[in-house]
Amino acid sequence: MTSQPQWRQKFTQKAQHVSAIVQSVADYEQAARYAVTRCPAHENAKLAAPGLPETLQFLVADHCRQNAIAWIDQNLRAYPEGFAVGLTMADYGIADTGTLVIGSRDENLRLATMLCDIHIAVLPVSCICEKAEDIADQLSAWMQTGGDYTAFITGASRTADIERVLAIGVHGPLELHILLLEDV
């Protein structure tokens, strides 16, 4: 799969359509800075960041230290009150619907995307495809092994169950931020 520029444009437009915030970042440094800046500066604020590439993890840890923010990448269950920010990688973006695909076998990764107020996902632009069908083979390959938990995430958690009025942020994140990573 070679990602096309028009898919990136469509991805952005579709994700914004469901109130996701889409931001371009040049490198891991910018991504780390972005995530830590979104974490409010009070002592209970925690940033969950499991399963990151080593470089990014190092940068996040560093920024958190400088800003006196607790960052957590293990045993997320121990924090039932949740996290101000959950920072994760995304495996694919689907342009057709503005969807993130996150292979979430790791329970900590799953919890980081569920128990946070703001979910920030880093998506390498080269991983944007046009349609879900385009990555069906890859997803099927993941599903060949037991234990798989694959998440399609499109925008923040939402409901329209009361009078069909849209309300964002029910059981999942209140906001979804997508950082399009130009270069690894």
């Binding site: 039932p80 619907t97 099927s140 599903m143 798989d148 169950d161 029910v170």
Partner: protein, 720 residues
């Protein structure tokens, strides 16, 4: 929910209460209009009919080998360490799940939305065994707290206002008032339910897909609760109807492309979760989740083997059949199904919850075809509902009114003789304007919503015998007119107008005298044998080889002759007959292609009512508009031109209150266009609309397309 055995009268009373619920009426109405718009947006650039057809194909293949798909899923899942169960009925499914809870000493259970669990009344079963069950989908939680069932498959609490929800939440949380603040209510749910998630010993979900190939389940949700239900507790049980089995991920993705678009007008839901499992779980045994999949039969295998009803199992539970149903729009889900609601709900009630509960419900289909047109899996819902109704009444003695109608319609001379006697009988109540001054005594007071037309002084068949149309020397084609009863005996002037216009177009017109009612009313009432007899009468009456076309001015007749007859009568002659049937508008626009210069333009503001059986039944949408414009009229389209008028033949006799409410909506919609007249192409719609306007004292002429063409026809020296 419907009682085990209620009478039509009881059911009408429930309906009457629903119709008086002002909030419900407004909510349903807003939804019907908003849904139409958002659905159109999300399907832009796609071909929903082709997508539905592909799903129908895939589902049909899967339904033919459900056992094999189940075996494949089970084998694969078990090799991953998941326990797979087969439950033959609702009780067994509930017992299996209660046993799993007992084995794990689970007391607190959280659930994400599952219609299948609603079907088995799982919550009641578990609660009766002292387990605490909490629904975590906001809408489901609300209806659970109110001790009622969902009123829509996708939006369970659509029948409730924010004030009702606010009061409910105040009493549950012991907190102050919420007023109008929906965001605040959602936050309360987030906070209250977060506690439940964290304490839960076991999670129960449904599934939208069960992929046999990899033993993966797929969950399509917006709120994110299903993710928490399947992640936080150490035990996960998925309860899944067997028909959710699909062969591969590709098949599931194909359904996913249409499901959210059709359900809520979303491109995709916030979350789609694919669980192959058992996924890691820090507090689970061996650090993994304990996972069970319970497949529910509960009558599905029997339906899958039944060629008449198998298509019903194609359903992907998008709920669109309710979204577009004019009856659902008036009465809401609690009066339009038992647990499953909407058109598919009428059927599933019959299959899963017993024919006794479905008996009255099955009558409440107006046969407008809106559900069929929107179905994500191409299910011919109105036909299946009629079949189910037929099957239910076949097991008991047929209602007296059905027996009488069957007897009468099977014998054309008897039927037409009775119509002639009725003409004489009505004389004392007949007014000069062609309406009856008061209604026949056998009708209920609720039937007063529309004035009824008088039977014409002479039926078209008598007029024609005296003055048949002049035969052109060299006709462009030969046409047999099929009249149908309403036009023949109530509105013969519409047929006269058509005959004049056709003759002007150099068409040789015949009216074969032995034709009778098309038989649709009999089908609607579930009287198959009589419907077959009447179909035979008509196919015998009109020799298909003697004509190029069999033209009818009644959209319902046209649709029944085209789509109903192939199922009623099998013969070569019938096939040739059916192939020649054509509605008037298509004949005039496509065969004759009558040019604008034949009309004396009168720039009158004109709107169009698209009869259900014309626009959806036969797919004719362009021809009438083309013809109206060619007459020089100002065409002012109505927003709800394609919404049913509420007539539905015998439907408006069985459910007069619903029919009246649908009609009122339609009249208001036409008035909004600012048009001075309504044109349509079905005598049933004309009867309904004229009667409604007349009763409301509104001066709005309603005319047949044939009358419009005839009225504007340019006079040619002495030919008319």
């Amino acid at each position: 929910m419907q009682p085990e055995s209620g009478s039509l009268r009881d059911y009408r009373q429930q309906i009457s209460a629903a119709l008086n619920d002002q909030f419900l009426r407004q909510a349903m109405d807003n939804f019907a209009v908003a849904y139409r718009g958002s659905r159109q947006t999300v399907f832009e650039g796609l071909d929903p009919d082709a997508m539905a057809e592909a799903i129908a194909d895939m589902k049909d293949r899967s339904l033919g080998r459900l056992d094999a798909l189940f075996d494949q899923f089970k084998q694969r899942a078990e090799s991953n360490g998941i326990t797979v169960h087969w439950a033959k009925d609702a009780d067994q499914a509930n017992q299996i799940i209660a046993d799993i809870a007992a084995q794990n000493k689970a007391r607190r259970i959280i659930k994400s939305k599952s219609m299948t669990a609603e079907e088995t009344l799982l919550n009641h079963f578990l609660e009766a065994r002292d387990l605490e069950v909490t629904e975590t989908d906001l809408g489901e939680w609300i209806v659970q707290l109110r001790h009622e069932g969902p009123s829509h498959m996708v939006m369970p609490a659509i029948h409730l206002s924010r004030y009702q929800v606010g009061e409910l939440f105040s009493s549950v949380t012991g907190q102050g008032r919420f007023g109008e603040d929906i965001d605040q209510m959602v936050k309360v749910a987030r906070r209250e339910l977060r506690k439940k998630f964290l304490q839960a010993d076991m999670g129960i979900s449904g599934a939208n897909f069960a992929i046999a190939d990899t033993a993966t389940i797929g969950l399509v949700t917006n709120e994110g609760n299903a993710r928490l239900v399947t992640t936080l507790p150490p035990v996960h049980v998925a309860l899944i109807g067997l028909e959710k089995l699909v062969p591969t991920l590709d098949d599931a993705l194909r359904i996913l492309k249409i499901l959210p678009r059709n359900a809520t007008g979303q491109f995709i839901t916030s979350y789609v979760t694919w669980i192959t499992g058992p996924a890691p779980c820090a507090i689970g045994p061996d650090g993994n989740k304990q996972m069970h999949v319970v497949f529910l039969d509960n009558g599905r295998m029997a339906v899958a083997r039944d060629p008449e009803f198998r298509d019903a199992l194609r359903c992907v539970r998008c709920g669109a059949c309710a979204n577009v149903c004019p009856v659902y729009r008036m009465v809401g889900g609690h009066r339009f199904g038992h647990i499953y609601i909407g058109a598919i709900g009428l059927l599933l009630t019959c299959f899963y919850h017993g024919e006794a509960r479905a008996r009255q419900l099955l009558k409440n289909c107006i046969n407008c075809g809106a559900c069929k047109a929107v179905c994500a899996a191409g299910i011919d819902l109105p036909r299946l509902i009629k079949s189910a109704h037929r099957r239910v009444i076949a097991k008991k003695s047929h209602p007296l009114k059905n027996q009488a109608l069957s007897l009468m319609l099977k014998n054309r001379r008897l039927f037409h003789g009775m119509l002639r006697s009725a003409r004489i009988a009505q004389q004392p109540v007949k007014a000069t304007d062609g309406f009856l001054r008061h209604l026949p005594h056998f009708l209920l007071p609720e039937h007063q919503f529309r004035a009824l037309p008088a039977i014409a002084d002479a039926p078209f068949r008598d007029i024609w015998k005296k003055r048949p149309a002049r035969r052109p020397a060299q006709p462009v084609c030969r046409v047999a007119l099929f009249a149908g009863c309403v036009q023949d005996f109530v509105y013969p002037e519409q047929l006269e107008a058509a005959a004049r216009v056709l003759t002007e177009c150099n068409v040789a017109v015949d009216f074969p005298d032995d034709q009778s009612c098309c038989g649709l009313p009999l089908e609607m009432m579930g009287e198959r044998a009589a419907a077959q007899a009447v179909a035979g009468q008509n196919v015998g009456a009109i020799d298909p080889d003697a004509y190029d076309y069999i033209v009818t001015l009644c959209a319902s007749c046209a649709s029944h002759l085209t789509h109903g007859y192939p199922r009623l009568i099998e013969s070569k002659r019938a096939e040739r007959f059916i192939a020649k049937v054509m509605p008037f508008s298509r004949f005039m626009a496509d065969v004759i292609d009558v040019p604008a210069r034949r009309f004396e333009p009168g720039a009158i503001d004109t709107t169009w009512h698209a009869p259900c059986h014309l626009c959806r039944g036969l797919g004719i949408r362009q021809a009438p508009e083309t013809l109206i414009k060619r007459t020089g009229a100002n065409y002012l389209p109505a927003v709800e031109a394609e919404t049913c008028c509420g007539f539905g033949g015998s439907y408006s006799v069985d459910f007069p209150l619903i029919s009246a409410h649908i009609l009122n909506k339609k009249m208001a919609d036409f008035q909004q266009t600012g048009a001075d007249r309504v044109v349509t192409e079905c005598p049933g719609c004309i009867l309904q609309l004229r009667g409604g306007f007349k009763n409301a004292g509104i001066d709005m002429p309603v005319m047949h397309l044939a009358e419009l063409l005839d009225e504007h026809w340019k006079p040619k020296g002495g030919t008319r």
